[in-house]
């Protein structure tokens, strides 16, 4: 009971820096990123943390742009986002639709990276960085591993089914202030 109360107090103390619900159009993603950077410049004095939040934010937002999938039958808005300042650092939440057929692989990829220690993460990151391959949509294949590396695996996710063809991918990423 005390733990739940403590958690509720913590959540109440969270301060929303920026939030958005709607379409993840390229111009909007740029706007969200620029606004978050401006606000972070104002509130975060620690350069290490500020830059880390910016890097993670950038990869999360550009991943959404590259991998957004249309779900015409879904009621939920195609994209939700917030950046919050928490008692422990920063939290970024993204929600977007993913096709059901891609869920298994996405889970496997994230879980695989989260299970790696720092040394293996670095080794794998450098392997992908140097392999010269780009995926179909021009991505480097480094976004997720970079996010896991920069947050020390401090993230959680869930897939909420939306019928047979689609799921809502909810990703919560924490950047701890050291």
């Amino acid at each position: 009971m005390a733990e739940i109360a403590e958690q509720q107090v913590k959540v109440k103390m969270d301060k929303v820096i920026f939030s958005y619900k709607g379409n993840p159009a390229s111009e909007m993603i740029d706007f969200i990123f620029e606004m978050c950077v401006i606000k972070l410049d104002l509130i975060e004095d620690n350069l290490t943390i500020r830059k880390r939040v910016i890097y993670v934010l950038l990869e999360l937002l550009q991943n959404i742009l590259k991998h957004q999938e249309v779900c015409p039958t879904c009621y939920e808005l195609p994209f939700k986002f917030y950046l919050k300042k928490t008692s422990e650092g920063y939290r970024i939440l993204t929600e977007n639709h993913v096709l059901q057929k891609n869920v298994k692989q996405l889970k496997k990829t994230i879980d695989g990276y989260v299970a790696m220690d720092t040394s293996d993460l670095n080794k794998n990151y450098r392997k992908i960085l140097s392999n010269g391959n780009f995926n179909m949509n021009g991505g480097a294949g480094l976004g997720l591993i970079d996010i896991v590396r920069k947050t020390s695996g401090n993230l959680s996710y869930e897939f909420i089914p939306e019928g047979k063809e689609s799921s809502l991918f909810v990703l919560n990423v924490n950047i701890l202030a050291q």
């Binding site: 140097s130 010269g132 480097a140 920069k150």
Partner: protein
């Protein structure tokens, strides 16, 4: 051959490539969604430059931040100089990072680890 100049903006870096002096610099932000569009002309310029390179090539990277697509193309750019270095050419890649920017430092270490040309990490 002409020098290559690109004036940066909110998403693209300022790029200056001088074929006569061998001085090259990337600075600012490099976060384009389509990194190929940015880097393909740079890679083509490099191919021309390497046909008759300057005695010394110094590549300065002073980026505020960049996305992972850019990092992969930066590897391709730097790889162009590996053969020049192996055949005795004087090549130096200078990777600048702010004192407290641990992630930019780590990125420099990533490049140093995978490239076969010297990458010098410099705090500014």
């Amino acid at each position: 051959m002409k020098n290559f100049t690109l004036v940066g903006n909110q998403k693209l870096p300022t790029i200056y490539l001088n074929f006569q002096t061998g001085e090259m610099e990337f600075s600012g932000k490099s976060i384009p969604e389509n990194a190929e569009f940015l880097f393909q002309p740079v890679l083509e310029w490099m191919d021309e430059y390497l046909k008759s390179p300057s005695e010394i090539t110094i590549f300065v990277i002073k980026l505020e931040y960049f996305n992972t697509s850019s990092s992969k193309y930066l590897v391709e750019v730097f790889r162009k100089f590996e053969n020049l270095f192996k055949s005795g050419g004087k090549v130096s890649i200078q990777w600048y990072y702010e004192q407290e920017d641990e992630d930019m430092q780590e990125s420099g270490e990533d490049f140093r680890d995978i490239l076969k040309v010297p990458v010098e990490l410099i705090v500014y």
